[in-house]
């Protein structure tokens, strides 16, 4: 097993909810609550969950774009969790992000060359004279043509704009890229193109990805491992294959059952999850999922479950997972 690129230890990202004029905030929105996660070099790890569960905030926290309340973030062995903005700079170039809405994340007043140049300045390996050459190389990497270089973002389609975003992310020679719902705004056929490109680039440039999405069905195509997030906590991490075949957490199963499958013969009764996502300012006691869980026991509402290891890099956060696994309660026929 290769070394971990990023290691999160008990990371908390809390935002003040109501702040008195003097003194400390009284209550917090716990967007990311006690998350420990290992991201292995060269893998693509997925992060799924409903909207408002904190998946984007976790992605931003890793890049230090969201304020870290407590905990440690190790990047290649260095703890970057507490570094000042100035000392963080060399690490910034190594970690990049691609956003959901390509139109909003590209400056409409800049040509593609200018957009790429802005990022290339951060890349110490590229000399000033070589910017143009390097920009053309980047466009080639993402299957755009060199003549596109002096065009403006609005002249491209959504899929092409997302390719420009990817090219910009690659400009600084990163090791790690966060894709925050990068394909959710695209059509299926365009989405397939962008995903194939992402995978090809990963092999070619030895990148590590964190792929954030609410769409379970593309996870298996993109990711080798998937983390499931619920109400600020990661509740399950498994290899993508076994996650879908044999989910260990009741929430994962509910999420999987809710995906409509493009096959009229498959008997998917669109499993219905009761209730709503809890408020992050006041999450339920004990296991956050217990009010919506079909299998809940007395202990679930009282004690917050600990991480229990399944094997290797997989683990689950559920009091009852052993019992459920034994009875095969979570495996659908």
């Amino acid at each position: 097993m290769t070394a971990s690129l990023i290691k999160l230890e008990e990371v908390n990202t809390w935002f003040p909810y109501s702040k008195p004029i003097v003194g400390k905030p009284e209550s917090w929105v716990k967007a990311v609550n006690d998350v420990s996660l290992n991201i292995i070099e060269g893998e693509c790890i997925g992060l799924v969950g409903e909207s408002g569960c904190g998946k984007s905030t976790l992605g931003r926290t890793i890049l230090r774009l969201a304020p870290l309340y407590s905990g440690n973030i190790h990047f290649l062995g260095d703890n970057i969790g507490k570094l000042s903005a100035k000392r963080l700079k060399p690490y910034r170039a190594k970690m990049q992000m691609v956003f959901q809405d390509p139109k909003a994340s590209l400056n409409p007043k800049m040509t593609v060359f200018k957009i790429l140049k802005e990022a290339l300045v951060l890349n110490k390996r590229v000399a000033k004279e070589d910017y143009l050459e390097q920009a053309v190389k980047l466009l080639n990497l993402v299957d755009l043509r060199p003549e596109h270089i002096y065009r403006y973002p609005h002249e491209f389609s959504g899929g092409q704009q997302q390719r420009i975003s990817i090219a910009r992310a690659l400009a600084t020679d990163p090791k790690f890229i966060v894709f925050d719902e990068a394909t959710s705004a695209l059509d299926v056929s365009v989405q397939a193109q962008v995903i194939n490109l992402m995978k090809a680039l990963q092999d070619k440039l030895m990148l590590t990805y964190l792929f954030i999405s609410h769409d379970l069905s593309i996870m298996e195509h993109v990711c080798s491992r998937v983390a499931v997030m619920y109400a600020g906590q990661v509740v399950e991490v498994q290899n993508s294959r076994s996650l879908f075949d044999a989910p260990r957490h009741p929430y994962t199963r509910a999420l999987k059952n809710a995906v409509p499958i493009a096959d009229p013969e498959s008997k998917n009764d669109l499993g219905i999850l009761k209730g709503d996502v809890p408020k992050l300012s006041n999450p339920p006691s004990g296991c956050h999922f217990h009010p919506r869980c079909d299998f809940r026991d007395k202990i679930c509402s009282k004690v917050s479950p600990e991480v229990s290891k399944i094997n290797g890099n997989s683990w689950v956060r559920c009091h009852l997972h052993e019992k459920l696994w034994k009875h095969g309660a979570l495996i659908s026929e």
Partner: protein, 348 residues
């Protein structure tokens, strides 16, 4: 109330026949670059108690079709020809005044973003109350009589009843809230409850679940399915998600660049897709439990100001023949209930 009684009668006479027929619908927009022919000869029927899915890429004309049915597109710089037959009348040529008795009442619509289609400055209770007063005056008096209460109480009782039907809970509190204070899933369920108040014959859902989470989406889809069974409403479900089409719809129409290229019952479409575009689209869908590289339809949706000559799909089609570049394909029946518009199936 007369209208309500009328609609009940109509359901009787319509059984078996389509509730709505769209015939040769053409819509063009005049813009700076010339005339964009957004829809070109759209034909389909909607039968009572069925869910028909309209799928296609962004810009294929799905929403324009839906909006043209109710004449919701502003008339300046727009040219519409063709027929939308509903209740023996052509909705395209109806005056705004006549349309008022159909819009929202007999054909209602649910939009993609629920929060923006609810008035933000009135409470949810006020808005549903207003519609109940408009559509269900008889029910109000019936409840008043039964419970011996004021009209206000009666409206509240009906509102609770109707919102309960779409699976909302804690309604008493909800009626006092504003649109911005409820979650997307709740807002969409509330919107659906509003559009069902008048017991419409047709419900048009324009990407009604696209902005929602899968878990909330599952709720809404189940609701739509039950609705169609219990209330005898026909649903035109516009979506880009083929999974939804497969799971809840009886028939699927695939749109490409302003034309319906294939329309069929769901089983037959997924088992035996005929049009090259449908085939490509189905292959591009990521499937749970199958990890193979995704294939895709190369190229982009054409510029509709200067659409390709002949079949609009030919520049992206792997099977394009000479005839595809020159002539427009005609609709052909390949099976019962399976219509495709492609020269590959032209036997002549």
């Amino acid at each position: 109330m007369n209208n309500l009684a009328l609609s009940k009668e109509n359901e009787q006479t319509f059984s078996g026949d389509p509730v709505m027929q769209v015939k040769d619908l053409n819509v063009a927009f005049n813009n700076h670059g010339g005339q964009a022919k957004i829809l070109e000869g759209v034909n389909f029927c909607l039968y009572p108690r069925e869910i028909l899915a309209l799928v296609g890429e962004t810009g294929s004309g799905k929403s324009v079709t839906a909006k043209s049915i109710l004449n919701l597109i502003p008339s300046h710089s727009r040219e519409t020809t063709g027929e939308v037959l509903f209740d023996d009348r052509n909705l395209i040529s109806l005056s705004a005044k006549d349309l008022q008795f159909i819009r929202g009442k007999r054909i209602s619509m649910v939009f993609q973003n629920p929060q923006s289609s609810i008035n933000p400055v009135f409470t949810l209770g006020e808005q549903i109350g207003r519609l109940i007063r408009l559509y269900l005056p008889h029910e109000i008096s019936a409840v008043m009589h039964k419970n011996q209460c004021s009209p206000k109480r009666a409206i509240e009782t009906i509102a609770k009843d109707k919102l309960n039907e779409v699976g909302l809970t804690d309604i008493q509190r909800m009626l006092k809230l504003y649109a911005g204070q409820i979650s997307g899933g709740m807002a969409q369920r509330y919107r659906i409850a509003l559009s069902l108040l008048s017991l419409p014959e047709i419900l048009i859902a324009d990407e009604a679940t696209s902005a929602l989470d899968v878990t909330v989406q599952a709720h809404i889809l189940k609701l739509m399915k039950d609705l169609c069974k219990n209330k005898e409403t026909a649903i035109l479900f516009i979506t880009h998600d083929l999974g939804i089409a497969a799971q809840i719809c009886a028939r699927v129409a695939v749109m490409y660049a302003g034309r319906i290229v294939e329309i069929s019952d769901t089983k037959s479409l997924f088992k035996n897709p005929c049009h090259p575009y449908t085939k490509g689209l189905l292959k591009a869908v990521p499937k749970l439990g199958k990890n193979e590289p995704l294939s895709f339809v190369s190229g982009m949706i054409p510029d509709l100001v200067n659409p390709p000559r002949g079949c609009r799909f030919h520049p992206r089609c792997g099977h394009a023949m000479d005839i595809c570049r020159e002539k427009k394909p005609k609709d052909l029946m390949v099976e019962e209930n399976h219509r495709v518009s492609c020269f590959l199936y032209n036997k002549q």
